[in-house]
């Protein structure tokens, strides 16, 4: 297996559309790195540049210590799983899986052995003589993964491989790919727009937006310490609540004033945000950090607010409340025990220690945690 290093990678289409700009990523040996971001952020382009399917406009890509900028895809020792599986429709599952080995002129016995081994791993032995059209989405996905496995490549690349599956199958396949990663101990680069996939599968996550890397970090670090407002909003479901307001000093403590909501911040915030007194900032608070006061522990430092319930979304184990106070709307994720009714006024405890603050101009986090 191998490490993949992207240095100052840039991709420009038609000399003016910048798809990826100055991307620097180091994927360590045996690491599972997920590229995540909204549509058009450049994540698939980055993956395709690693695969050699897109020429790079600038920078350097190396796989296993060898610069591969001008190396064709077939010589990069990579395998790729595509969003639409890309199984050749006129070939059987066996032929699809054996195709790459056949082109590389492997002996028939070895091709047989490798295909059987991959089929065993993925549990698709009984599908080997079927054509892709006779397979379900999940089975096609397994075959596509099988086609990658038989090659025993240095690096596996996945381009949104679960996007076409239904929600239940997606969860199942997510776990299977993670298990496969552990079993093969392979270097894997995985592209998705689904932050849940990214959080659950990746050793590290690369968050991209408009061709630029926003943050590279481990899943929990991304969640707890987003470097900017975009990452904070993108990671986590439901998204982080973002509320615009003024910071002022009141009795030595910072006061966040949105108009209808005033939050007196604990003393330690005065030092962290002192430079922004008198300025507008963006406060971020995750829905799970807004609690029902009755269910919260005593040692948790909270600020109480009152809000009107607009929508109630019961999820079974939890409830999402869409709330308003004045002009501000936000979401709280609360315990289903005391489920309020629509239009009811409720008291909520905001776990203020979990609050994030972002600069309004550059959207960067103002907290140095």
């Amino acid at each position: 297996m191998a490490e993949v290093i992207l240095k100052n990678i840039r991709k420009v289409y038609d000399k003016e559309v910048v798809a990826v700009d100055d991307a620097n990523i180091e994927v360590k040996d045996k690491e599972f790195v997920v590229l995540v971001g909204p549509s058009g952020c450049g994540k698939s382009t980055t993956l395709r540049m690693i695969a050699g399917l897109e020429e790079i406009s600038g920078g350097e890509i190396s796989i296993d210590g060898k610069v591969v900028n001008d190396v064709p895809p077939k010589d990069r020792d990579i395998a790729m799983v595509f969003q639409n599986y890309a199984l050749y429709p006129h070939m059987t599952v066996y032929q699809n899986m054996a195709f790459g080995l056949k082109l590389r002129k492997y002996p028939k016995d070895e091709i047989d052995a490798r295909v059987q081994e991959a089929a065993d791993i993925l549990g698709i032995q009984e599908l080997l003589q079927r054509k892709p059209k006779a397979l379900s989405g999940g089975q096609r996905q397994r075959v596509a993964v099988g086609r990658a496995i038989v090659r025993k490549p240095k690096v596996f690349l996945f381009d949104e491989p679960l996007s076409n599956l239904d929600a239940k199958l997606r969860v199942q396949m997510r776990a299977e790919i993670s298990k496969l990663h552990n079993r093969l101990e392979a270097t894997m680069v995985y592209v998705t727009h689904d932050q849940t996939e990214a959080m659950t599968m990746g050793d590290r996550i690369v968050v991209m937006r408009d061709g630029l890397i926003q943050q590279i970090d481990e899943p929990l670090s991304l969640y707890n310490k987003p470097v900017n407002q975009f990452v904070a909003g993108f990671i986590g479901s439901p998204s982080m609540n973002l509320i615009r307001g003024n910071l002022s000093l009141s009795g030595g403590n910072l006061l966040f004033d949105e108009g209808s909501v005033q939050l007196m911040m604990p003393a330690r915030y005065t030092e962290l945000l002192g430079d922004h007194v008198g300025k507008e900032v963006m406060l971020g608070i995750r829905p799970e950090d807004i609690h029902d006061p009755d269910t919260i522990g005593r040692n948790v430092e909270t600020i109480e607010i009152e809000a009107k319930v607009e929508v109630v979304e019961p999820m079974g184990n939890e409830v999402f409340l869409n709330l308003t106070t004045g002009e501000t709307s936000f979401v709280a994720r609360v315990d289903p025990l005391n489920m309020p009714k629509i239009d009811q006024m409720v008291k909520l405890a905001v776990e203020i220690d979990k609050a994030h603050f972002f600069d309004l101009d550059n959207e960067k986090s103002l907290l140095q945690r």
């Binding site: 399917l53 895809p73 077939k74 890309a86 006129h90 195709f99």
Partner: protein, 291 residues
Amino acid sequence: MQRNWKAGLLFILPALLFYMLFMIVPYGLAFGVSFVKWRGVSMDMQFFGLGNFRMMLSDPYFWKALTNTIFFTVCTGVIVPALALYFAVSVTRRLVRWARFYRITYFFPNLISQVAIAVLWWFALNPQFGIFSNFLRLFGMQDLPSWLGDPVWAPWCIVVVKVWAAVGFYMVLYVSSIEGIPEDYYDACRIDGAGEWQAFRHVTLPLISEMMKVSTIFLLLNGFGTFDLVRIMTDGGPDRSTETLATYIYENAFELGKFGYATTIAMTLFFITFSLAMLSLWVQRKQAVEY
């Protein structure tokens, strides 16, 4: 079910009547005419039994025309798909620059009538002032044949013109078929280790094979009906070297006044093309590849 069948019949009845009146009845009448001697100018017909068929089988000009027709059909049936596929792959897989320009240029002959094409090429192939001979003379070739007046060269000239006139249309058919192949297959193929040739062999060709089969059948049917180009460029000559069944039928019917005999040959041609049409349906019965 019975009521549905009757209602269905009612819906197709107008089209069926039209088809019967203008297709089945004339074919039936023609079939009858092939058993008579008839000059075509009056209703004076003499029953001749299988005489026309016996005459046809012992007619060396018929066999010559049939051989030539098969020659044109096979040549165009092989060369046109091969060239059209080559051009289609070149422009869709971006193996050449100015791909769009070539697409339009190659399709251009399809906008001109076959008669105009024949006249154009008749001029181009003129041994004295034709552009083709003059072009070859630029390279010092002086002893050039009379292209359309030479029994060896004339059939090949017809083949060239037929190919030139048809290749653009089939190229467009193949282009649309190739463009329907998802790009992911080519990406997967490149990662699997295929070059451009292997991608063509293992992806493009199998995935457009249905279109190839159907278009080849069309070409075969078209080849057996070769008439206008030959009629204008060579009139079947020299020495009947370019005579086709269609021009021979025309000659017998409208120049020699042998309508009965001409109809017999026409019926033979009909059975050949009908068999090819059946073959076409048989080929197409196989389900198309599903992506």
